[in-house]
């Protein structure tokens, strides 16, 4: 049923498609993973993505004592390297953490521009399951970048998974309310990017 609250795809409403997200492999990440994430960003969030060539991982972001990369530093480095209104999603094969948490699957700037997702803890399952997990974490973090917080609907991708097992239980979909909010914010993003003379 169509209602006044149903979202209109932003790109349909506002002209020819433009890339809203740069997908940035940080070091070696397989092509298939990048392509599947890009396809799902487009399909579920109406976020058209460009896959960029691999970007070198910032050595300063490596926390020697913890043998992990600092996700916050990675995000800050990406934001410096890729200015402009277009969003960015870094994919990395190494383990990442924040100063306060022992590990994270992904990290993002709430209502900002950048996110980073690690495949490191998602790989205990085989091909399809691993890709599903990667897509779920990527969509979740990009929704944070659009400004959405966690959701308490049991069947929503914005529910905060406490571990990988809970991540597996989440559907590959947002609840109606989050989907509506995503559509609204993507529309605003399209407007912002189109009105920026030098988008990139």
């Amino acid at each position: 049923m169509t209602t006044s609250l149903d979202p209109v795809p932003a790109q349909v409403e506002q002209g020819p498609a433009i890339a809203l997200v740069r997908l940035i492999p940080l070091g070696p990440v397989d092509d298939l993973s990048c392509q599947v994430v890009a396809a799902n960003l487009q399909a579920l969030m109406d976020l058209a993505a460009d896959i960029l060539p691999p970007f070198p991982v910032l050595p300063d972001a490596f926390m020697e004592a913890r043998r992990q990369y600092d996700a916050v530093q990675l995000i800050n480095a990406l934001a410096r390297a890729f200015p402009g209104p277009t969003l960015g999603l870094g994919l990395i094969g190494s383990d990442i953490a924040t100063p306060i948490l022992t590990y994270v699957l992904g990290e993002s700037q709430l209502g900002g521009r950048m996110a980073v997702v690690s495949t490191y803890r998602l790989t205990d399952a085989g091909g399809r399951r691993k890709l599903e997990r990667l897509v779920k974490v990527s969509l979740h973090e990009m929704a944070h970048v659009l400004g959405l917080g966690h959701c308490w609907q049991p069947q929503c991708l914005m529910r905060s998974p406490r571990n990988v097992a809970q991540l597996d239980e989440l559907p590959m979909a947002f609840c109606d309310t989050c989907q509506y909010e995503i559509a609204r914010r993507v529309r605003n993003l399209v407007r912002e990017i189109r009105s920026t003379p030098d988008r990139h």
């Binding site: 006044s4 948490l101 022992t102 994270v104 308490w152 049991p154 309310t177 509506y180």
Partner: protein, 451 residues
Amino acid sequence: MTPSGLATLVVDDEEAIRESLAAWLIKDGYRVETADSGESAVERLADHLFDIYLVDIKMPGMDGLELLSRIKVRQPDALIIVITAHGTVQTAVDAMKRGANDYICKPFDPEELSLIMERLAATKALRDENVALREQLMDRLDVSLEGIVAQSRAMQNIFATIEEVAPAMTPVLIQGETGVGKELVARALHQDSERSAGPFVALNCGAQSESLLESELFGHERGAFTGALRARRGRLEMASGGTLFLDEIGDISPKMQVSLLRVLEEKRFQRLGGSQWIDTDFRLVSATHRDLVHLIRQGRFREDFFYRINVIRIEIPPLRDRLEDVAPLADHFLERYSRETGKRILGLTQRALGILTAYHWPGNVRELRNVMERAVVLARGQMIGAEELGFLDASGEPCRLGPMSLREMEIAHIQAALDTCGWNVSRAARQLGVDRATLTRKLKRYRLQRP
């Protein structure tokens, strides 16, 4: 179940830790502020209190243990988590003995942090629900016994509006300070409507966490979340055919506003974890003490939702702006509490009534009710006098009466009565319990003139 919207203060001298923890909590829906030292946290406490405190034990200057003690003095029911480094567990144990609710070693395991926050939020939700239920019980006693007591012109106008709009299905927004009787007006709207035979379902949105509120409103299917052992109907479902009263609507999150907007548009919804659409047909009456237009400007309240709920607006003035209602309300509560306590109390002395009408009533009718209950309990004779109201001065709330002579007090009291009655001498005389001629004589004697 993790509640959100709780005010949280993170205190840590390391910026990376502070900001990283704040970012994590904000994504989970907590309202977060940060402080870089114990001293700065104490300064913050002077302005306002928080629901949850996350405090690093080891900080230069005032350490976490000292800060913990200071918080507990200012706010005995504060929920506090202390943050320790590995190897300082003994200090954490000391903190627990001093009243901390939990401790966590940094860096945290994400799952552990989630569990601790969920536990604290659940404790807070239970406490708030308890308070809200007690208040609701008291408010219900009010309406089921006697209805609304008021003489002021402002309230008479509100009664006229209620009569006019009650029969329609139009959503109504009631605005007014805490304790003015918003739920009573909502009940009156329901009673006078064609849906009076249907249910009146009330929910205080301010006392609920987002997750609890969602479950209360929409209901849930069995197994929708941990603890959902059986399916449960939500208030949206229960209110079908009647009136849904959402108090403190200004406190709900923008996300919940979208969910409710959809229900109001589509007149159907799904339970949490359910896939079946449930039709519902209720009249929405909402209330708030907040300035919603201001919240819209701050981006905390959705404009489209505001226009949907604000079709008819009823504004209830605070009690201090309708002091002529104080006397009848005081008599009403006096009669009720005399009956309940079995004490034979005939009324209030003029001095007591003077104190009541001179008081500022920050807590409005609810505060007056509590004051009268206390006065009846304290009363030794058959009249409530100034002695029984002595605690009002000590409450720290502004009271217009200082040390005055009897003559000064009489002048101030007459002046106040005339001001509230718009200098209608007959009405003021009635309120003061004297005839018009007596009041006119006093006006001459004290040379009081219409401004």
